[in-house]
Assembly symmetry: C2
Homo-oligomer: 503 residues x 2
Amino acid sequence: MASLDQASAHGRLRAYLHTTQLLGSIHSTLYYDQNTAMPAAGAPWRGEQLALLARQLHGRQSCREYSDLVAAAEAELATDADPGARRNLVLLRQELERQRRLDPVLVGRIAEAQARGYALWQQAKADQNFALFSPALAELVSLRQEQARQLAEPRSCWETLAQTFEPDISKQRLRELFEPLRQQLPGLLAQAASLPPLPPANWDLQEAAQDQLCETLLLEWGYDASRCQRSRSPHPFSTTIGPADFRITTRIVAGLPFSAFLATAHEWGHSLYEQGLPRSGEHFFPWPLGEATSMAVHESQSIFFECRLARSAAFAERWYPRFRSALGRDAWGNGRRFWRSINPMRAGLTRVEADELSYCLHIVLRFELELALLEEDLPVEELPERWNSGMEQLLGLRPGHDGEGCLQDVHWSEGLFGYFPSYALGHLISAQLSEAMAAELGPIEAQIAAGNEAAILAWLGRKVWLLGRRVNAEQLVEQITGRPLSAEPFLAYLRDKLARLAD
Amino acid sequence: MASLDQASAHGRLRAYLHTTQLLGSIHSTLYYDQNTAMPAAGAPWRGEQLALLARQLHGRQSCREYSDLVAAAEAELATDADPGARRNLVLLRQELERQRRLDPVLVGRIAEAQARGYALWQQAKADQNFALFSPALAELVSLRQEQARQLAEPRSCWETLAQTFEPDISKQRLRELFEPLRQQLPGLLAQAASLPPLPPANWDLQEAAQDQLCETLLLEWGYDASRCQRSRSPHPFSTTIGPADFRITTRIVAGLPFSAFLATAHEWGHSLYEQGLPRSGEHFFPWPLGEATSMAVHESQSIFFECRLARSAAFAERWYPRFRSALGRDAWGNGRRFWRSINPMRAGLTRVEADELSYCLHIVLRFELELALLEEDLPVEELPERWNSGMEQLLGLRPGHDGEGCLQDVHWSEGLFGYFPSYALGHLISAQLSEAMAAELGPIEAQIAAGNEAAILAWLGRKVWLLGRRVNAEQLVEQITGRPLSAEPFLAYLRDKLARLAD
């Protein structure tokens, strides 16, 4: 059977992809170790290890042997082949052509500019001095523009770069989706100012207590220590090491006692999606169909667990006694005020600390600035002022310096343009899927109150996770909800939540 | 300069070895992760990742490109070349010839037999049923005999296999060195029976308390968290991930409150040797001269820190108050009785739990049995009885079943023959080096009493660690101590220790 399989072009391609997956997962293991265990002085050598693996991976994904394997599998494909087999080859061909169109010299220059950019950005952010980073950013913009030219897709520059994260996305579609957010979120933020005041933040939790709460949360949400491992890292993340090996990390932040808990919920959402991807069956792992379909869908799952579940009123009622007991006293008075404290609904300067009410405005700003940099000739020197006036307009806040302004995120330091919108799309998708879930299962809050998260997990597994890359993000939403993706479910959810918080 | 270097055969070979080191260290990182973080279900995928890297490594070390690089560097070597450059090429040529003489088919069959052997051994040990493992062991013996035939060195079969661990070792030399152990250790063990009784073992330490004691120990012995990381694993080990990235692990064993502490001292000795290897300078990393010279020398360093330091009377006096405070009461009465409790001096059935008085007898038995299996046609079926009678003769103990007898160690399950003697040689080397150290620095116990471990570390660094593979184990001992390696310093040390314990 194995030799028969090897005799077909399909079988040989599958074996090739399997080895590529092995190499990619070795890269992920090193990344995980780097962030959870590696001592600081190990960084330069780790950089060399990762670069070696990246070269091997790039070689495997662009070499003649691989190209011939894909061509042979295409030639072998029967006219009545399974649609899954057909789509796998379409996706592989698309990625192969992208890899082959890029000049290796450009790939090398981008990698070098990323390393330089990251180092200068760290310095510039620490020094609150944008000018230190500005030339590196200009170089990254120019290299990415060249990358888009070489890729020569029937799309704009920004759209071409965004395909890696969000297949089939367009500027026009994003503008349609984001316009209602830009219009309505500032008003909702103003409305939130008249909510009952937040309980005083005069409490914090010991590390061990936070760890115990996270552990309990995970166990109630299907965590299985024989397949998953959790650890600490400077920034929370989730990663997949192998088909039955999943890792998530959190950090404990002094003075922010909900931080590790909400990050655990968020990263667990990412991990559940990965754990639920189709792995058995001919057309899935190690084929593209066995992968997550987009960053927006990935983010929709993490946001669902963080915002729709862990920040919900029913959840707060259930967890209020646990937090009280972990703290050793009652800092809230009742479950309702505990709910209020986990939903600040206040605008801030920093994206990663934003709650669901203001988060998308941070993204709208970044999306517009990326378009300006890549497609509208905005000189990088003008970025700080454009950022600051945008923040004032959208969120009513002006950064005191660029460290808390346009230097706050790591993405641009590595020339990652086109990534940010996925975060906002994740909120929209989560909200629209939640409506469909409620229509089938009954109100989500009722499920949570009944401790029936298993039904929620099963629904997401069946509707989202098990599809892999069969459909793209917007097709997935339409398939599940019967309507095109829109901002309205998200905005309706926020209006309702504000009304209930004010009640 | 870089391009000039690349233009020389020496420079090209160095670049090639650098990449080989990167790949090897990626393998080490996966091994570390496997033992400290990986969830159980990740094992099959991890096995595939490691096998892929092993294939890549084997390919790099035996392929034509590498062979040509070595030959070109040899041709380029000037007659008045630095002895270091010459020795590097000798060592590389030796290893290359070994790799090339082996039939890849045999290499594959050994790898498969190792995997099978390991699985059957686990089962056989758990079931206390040697017959389950016996056929796999017979196959491994036969494959290793074939390996030695293919290597065709002017050495016996066992000697050929032992070269990997202990370069230049011979059976005759080991018999010379081990004979005094076989003659005198049983008498010392009998003498130890009349020592003052051990304090009652009615105490144990909380995990956090053990962890704190290990942390304090490491900090006093030069641990630097920016270069080192420690973690937990099922079996303690030390590994090097990169030129500035060192890891050690320990485990907490309920009911054995000295276990993690002594294992930390032991593994830290291994790590200090690795950290002290020469890395700057033209002929060291990534060349062979930058590596540890043998397993025996490696073991001598770990044994030195565990036995000569952590089990010494002066060390016990200093640490008795710390253990008392960690325990929250006094389980010993005085530092002398604390010292006695960390030196049981009693024979047992299990090698890994043996103290320095009986440890080498476990090795003498294994050495003789390996010779019998590989060179004297001992049928594997007779191994249990030979083991049991050997234990009775050497240690006066007879295993109740094979699980605590000839199935206790993992080594033979993977066909690792020739490794065990390095452990005993480590005790001998540690003792002989300790005499030389005392002659230069003054009594080691006085250094410990004065908290002057820094002088001890500096001495070892200068005399042992910085030499890398310039000389082999016996040359190293002779160079430092002015005499050939012998068992007498070790036996003299034990006689003295017993006298002081009895005092």
